[in-house]
């Protein structure tokens, strides 16, 4: 009974915040609504008992995306808003609204007519988990059963970084993103940014490590490590590194390359592309995941920092 109140309340709140995000007059309220919306989504994921997803949403939706979007809204505030944009006529607006209502109804019909009992791959995932040496079926899906998806996802992240960097002006290529200097070591923010990372790094590594058996994993742990690097840069305790740095490039590419390398090793050694040998699966998986975690921790802050805006140092 109370659980239902909670679920209905969560649904109403999440819809309200989504409505504000989409329809608010000004950009900043919309962005703040979206940040609060991300927090609510992770509550809903907990209610669906998808704790791995809730952890991902908490790290990405609330933290990293919030920083990205708030920064963007401030940078774009200075740009003249598109005043020339022609207003949509009311009939057109209604037509669009009708279309969207129809799309919603179609999806709702699908939800209400889902087969019962639902088809599920959970038994297979649970049955075969012993072969991977893992205890968390979600991690097993990500890193073993559907390793190809995860490998490509890491490639997408690297491509996104390349895409962001490619927006740099020619004179800044190889330089650092973000404003230079202004290192202030005092103040509340600097104190916070010195206190938080030790604890955050510990928690990030823990979430990565327990991901083998409990909710957590390479992405969630890496995202928390990434956030710690971001707070250090936001407090100006350290500047963003130049994109030409060799260690930077290696850190970004290490995850997909090691993953692919282990995959090809499997192909050569005869246990199959992106597969793991029986009995030695878990150590190999952990080995791959360590590099993936590092890559994610390097990638996310670079995506948020944007293209370089400083000339490279000679």
């Amino acid at each position: 009974m109370i659980v239902q109140t909670l679920d209905i309340g969560l649904a109403a709140l999440v819809l309200t915040l989504a409505g504000w995000t989409v329809l608010a007059q000004a950009t900043f309220p919309a962005v703040v609504s979206y940040v609060a919306y991300g927090l609510l989504l992770s509550l809903i994921w907990v209610r669906l008992f998808a704790v791995d997803v809730a952890l991902t949403e908490a790290a990405i939706g609330g933290g990293v995306t919030g920083v990205l979007l708030i920064g963007a809204s401030s940078k774009l505030r200075k740009a003249a808003l598109s005043a020339t944009e022609q207003e949509l006529t009311p009939p057109l607006r209604w037509a669009i609204a009708t279309l969207c209502v129809l799309a919603t109804l179609a999806l709702a019909t699908v939800v209400l007519s889902l087969p019962d009992p639902s088809p599920t791959l959970a038994p297979e995932a649970v049955q075969n988990i012993a072969a991977t040496g893992l205890g968390n079926p979600v991690t097993a899906v990500l890193i073993a059963y559907r390793a190809f998806d995860t490998m490509l996802e890491k490639c997408v992240l690297v491509l996104a970084v390349v895409g962001v960097w490619s927006l740099a002006s020619d004179q800044y290529w190889g330089g650092a993103p973000g404003a230079p200097g202004a290192v202030t070591w005092d103040g509340a923010l600097a104190f916070f940014a010195q206190l938080l990372p030790p604890l955050g790094i510990l928690i990030g590594i823990r979430i990565f490590w327990i991901g083998a058996d409990e909710p957590g994993g390479a992405f969630q742990g890496g995202a928390i490590l990434a956030a710690m690097w971001m707070i250090i840069m936001m407090a100006r305790l350290a500047e963003a590194p130049a994109i030409g740095e060799r260690w930077m490039r290696i850190a970004l590419a290490a995850g997909p390359i090691v993953f692919l390398g282990v995959g090809i090793l499997g192909f050569v050694a005869g246990w199959g592309f992106l597969a793991y040998p029986a009995g030695f699966a878990k150590p190999l998986i952990i080995f791959v995941e360590i590099f993936m975690t590092l890559s994610i921790a390097a990638t996310l802050p670079m995506l948020v920092a944007g293209p370089p805006i400083q000339a490279p140092r000679p």
């Binding site: 998808a50 990405i60 996104a160």
Partner: protein, 113 residues
Amino acid sequence: MSAATLAGLTGALLAGLGLYGLIIQPDPLRRILAFNVLGSGIFLLFGIIARRGAVAGALADPVPQALVITGIVVAFAATALAVALLVRLSGETSRVDLRAELSGQTRGDGADD
């Protein structure tokens, strides 16, 4: 109504709302936000399929969950790239209007996704 069905209907509404914003909002940053709302609605649909597939030993089907985790990561990467494009465009032209630059060329507002 079970929690899963309720979340599914919420997902459907979020998807519709996001789609509406994606079409009617003139400001590209708002379109990026709307696109993310649309995406999270779809993710919730995956979530209820996962929850309905619960069996002994797993509170939810791990396969859709893993797909959603991958999806969240890719959506973030796409958002970051779209934001970077937008900031660069505004830095270059001091405006965030896509149409003026594109008049006479192929109409393409696909920068949001």
